[in-house]
């Protein structure tokens, strides 16, 4: 059961994640399962990275999208439960950092759809079928945040 005022953070011991271009990319490193969430889901993960509570996250979603606070709250708590079940988030261990800037309403995020966690459970298995060639692991990756 997810308490609305409980704060959450990524399960950093098992998970590598980042929000890029509004989409959360999450990898459970222990078994290679790949997850993604876009639109409202990206907003939710960004707030989890800031160690926010379910209520705070739902408020942010309701501000950014045309959705009632009750609907946003239900959707966010359901998603948080799913993230807990997948071991992607854990209860936050300390106080949240200060909010840099409050989310602005009507920020052009588009039509609301309940946040959805895309799950690819076979990714680790598929990767194991064909591991990359030696040497490729040394590629220096750049952040593509600035690209369209």
């Amino acid at each position: 059961m997810i308490e609305p005022d409980g704060r959450w953070q990524p399960n950093d011991r098992e998970v590598s994640s980042k929000v890029i271009d509004g989409e959360a990319i999450i990898i459970r490193l222990s078994d290679g399962i790949y997850y993604s969430m876009d639109k409202a889901g990206g907003v939710v993960w960004g707030m989890i990275e800031e160690r926010r509570s379910g209520d705070e996250i739902a408020a942010a979603v309701a501000v950014q999208y045309d959705v009632s606070p009750d609907q946003a709250r239900d959707d966010v708590l359901r998603l948080l439960q799913e993230l807990v079940n997948e071991r992607l988030i854990v209860a936050a261990s300390d106080a949240p950092p200060p909010i840099a800037s409050p989310p602005s309403p009507a920020s052009g995020q588009g039509v609301y759809a309940p946040p959805r966690l895309n799950i690819y459970r076979d990714m680790g298995e598929l990767l194991a079928l064909d591991p990359p060639a030696p040497g490729l692991m040394d590629i220096t990756w750049t952040d593509s945040t600035n690209k369209s």
Partner: protein
């Protein structure tokens, strides 16, 4: 039509899928389609963009990004793929085999929506997950506009795994094969040459062929076994030949270029395909085109490539005794074996014609893109 042909592995890697994709890309380009191959960047020594005999190839580090476990790396490659689709103004993505790299096609669909045609080449690409739908494989099957299977056996496996989702949107398009430029020559009879051709991996069952050959050699001491191909099992197979006392009669000739396999098959008395798994078995088809009888296992798609008692003999996998017996039958009865060879050529030409394969893909491309355009128009009108 601008087509992105998506394959996890491509030249210089050699394999059935690699050769098929290259031939299909070239044939479709000859018919006016603008085909670009996109593949995994395996070798840092190769350029990102290349042209191989007139076919543009783009290499993208799919696996390195995924295996890094770094979201930034994955996002970077996803942008690369989206940019590529946009730059080439792709009308259709033709995905060959289910692989981890497909994630980048699916996750760039929003940036450049183009319908996908999937070809299932079989093999280990259908991990059975007991109805699990939260998988890349399921998502691809769900999103694909149409699924072409390289054999009836592969389609049956797909439908068993995915049910109506695959049954109602799939068909068999045999991986055809171009007729060799050379004509069949008479088979050597007095000094039999048995040929195994393929990757030297456990699934090919060449260890069973070696054990069978040891039995055959006892009765036909002039017989030789030619093992053409390479792979991780080579050292083990060479050691097995020594242990069986047949190393002097077995030739491990290594990789044979795709264009030279016909000449090698033409020197064989019979072609042995002892696979433990085989989605179709194009080696058996090519053997038929050169009027060589085939002894193959009755697994998966091989009974579609080899008609038992007509173009060759089918035996149970993993049984060197029955394999040796079947080879013995062909060696004892050369007239029957010759007739099987001739029947094999007719069978290969009728069922596995390359022109037919290209025709079927050409037609399917047009159907998929027309249906997608129709859907878009319908949606647009509905929205208005």
């Amino acid at each position: 039509m601008r087509v992105l042909m998506w394959t996890e592995s491509f030249r210089p890697a050699i394999g059935g899928v690699e050769v098929f994709v290259e031939c299909l890309a070239r044939s479709l380009r000859e018919r006016g389609h603008d085909v670009t191959v996109v593949t995994n960047h395996r070798d840092p020594g190769l350029p990102d963009e290349d042209e191989l005999d007139g076919v543009p190839v783009v290499r993208v580090p799919f696996y390195a990004a995924l295996a890094s476990g770094r979201p930034e790396a994955i996002a970077h490659v996803r942008h690369q793929v989206a940019d590529l689709k946009r730059r080439l103004r792709i009308d259709l993505v033709h995905v060959h085999t289910m692989s981890a790299s497909v994630l980048f096609h699916l996750e760039s669909a929003r940036a450049w929506p183009a319908p996908a045609l999937l070809t299932m080449h079989g093999g280990p690409e259908l991990p059975h997950r007991g109805g699990e739908t939260a998988t890349l494989a399921h998502r691809l099957f769900e999103r694909a506009a149409w699924i072409c299977c390289c054999s009836r056996a592969v389609r049956a496996q797909l439908v068993a795994a995915e049910g109506p989702l695959a049954r109602d949107r799939s068909s068999v398009v045999y991986c055809g094969i171009k007729e060799p430029a050379i004509a069949p020559v008479p088979r050597p009879i007095a000094q039999p040459r048995l040929l195994c051709l393929g990757r030297l991996v456990d699934l090919k069952g060449f260890d069973v062929a070696l054990a069978a050959f040891a039995r055959v050699g006892a009765r036909w001491p002039a017989a030789r076994l030619i093992v053409a191909g390479d792979g991780p099992a080579r050292r083990q197979l060479e050691a097995q030949a020594v242990a069986l006392g047949v190393s002097g009669a077995v030739d491990f000739v290594g990789w044979v270029e795709a264009g030279k396999t016909a000449a090698l098959i033409n020197t064989a008395t019979a072609v042995i395909v002892p696979s433990r798994r085989e989605s179709l078995g194009l080696v058996a088809v090519e053997a038929g085109l050169l009027e060589r009888p085939v002894v193959a296992t009755s697994v998966e798609g091989l009974p579609e490539a080899v008609e038992h008692g007509v173009t060759g003999l089918l035996v149970a996998p993993d049984d060197s005794a029955v394999l040796a017996d079947a080879i013995g039958v062909l060696l004892e009865r050369p007239d029957m074996a010759d007739a099987m060879g001739r029947a094999g050529r007719r069978h290969a030409r009728a069922r596995f014609s390359w022109t037919r394969t290209v025709d079927e893909y050409d037609a399917r491309y047009r159907q998929v893109t027309e249906e997608t355009a129709h859907d878009r128009t319908g949606r647009t009108l509905a929205a208005e």
